[in-house]
Assembly symmetry: C2
Homo-oligomer: 151 residues x 2
């Protein structure tokens, strides 16, 4: 649990980088054997690329650094519940554990929407999920960002 808080704290720092750059503030890390092997933050606007979510960037970085697309044994830390695209990337890359901060009632594909059953049917497995780590901080960062946009 202490490790989860520590790693989520680092994912949160990634989310702050997104905030600084005017992006929806979401950050992610990939950890294997207690080592961070990839990290990323949301860069959709800067890269003009709808696929540039924090999780996708972290997965690409982790795969590059380990010279293999297979991320068996890895844990993804992400400040906000992943969307369906990112869940798909998690399955493709064989990440085994998902730790997320706050749920995303609108787009979240792990618990907020029901992609789990069809995902299990397709891949015959599903990652372990640990939710609500630094929940309030991760949530406040996101809701504060959107409240700021509306002003």
């Amino acid at each position: 649990m202490a490790d989860h808080l520590r790693f989520m704290g680092i994912a949160y720092q990634e989310a702050l980088k997104a905030l600084d750059e005017g992006e929806v503030p979401i950050g992610a890390l990939i950890v294997r054997d207690q080592q961070i092997i990839g990290r990323g933050y949301n860069r959709v606007e800067q890269l003009s690329d709808a696929t540039a979510h924090a999780e996708i960037i972290a997965i690409s970085a982790a795969s590059n650094s380990s010279a293999s697309w297979r991320l068996n044994g890895c844990t993804l830390y992400v400040t906000i519940e992943p969307c369906a695209m990112c869940l798909g990337a998690i399955m493709q890359s064989r990440i085994e554990t998902i730790v997320y901060g706050a749920a995303d009632p609108r787009y979240g594909a792990i618990d907020s929407h029901s992609y789990r059953r069809e995902t299990e049917r397709t891949y015959r497995r599903f990652p372990s999920v640990i939710a609500n780590i630094l929940n309030e901080d991760c949530s406040r960062l996101l809701t504060g960002f959107f409240a700021g946009l509306r002003k």
Copy 2:
């Protein structure tokens, strides 16, 4: 229909590039107003990146070339039915039409598996889908590749 065949023929040429490089042979294009604005082929092994599917690369390329992540009005041509990750990327990028060659009974998320209903619930829309364009050629390319691997 003639346009669909023509564009799928170009996506097929992209798939041949993947084949030449020892990758699972799948190719994709993004078309807007009859112009190709992005293209890609599967590069998972070369880039050591599970997210490097043909569709993701084509979406990133189209977004870069049009300097916006919003691909409204665009059509994706892809030789094989997209997986759940790529369907998620299609939704995130707001692509409006999917034209695919051959179904993928194992991982296909459009017709082979039932992601459509949950996707409609999440996004309150779903792209138009046109299937089985150059079906036999696209299918044969893929099955031939896997048969070769088994030998």
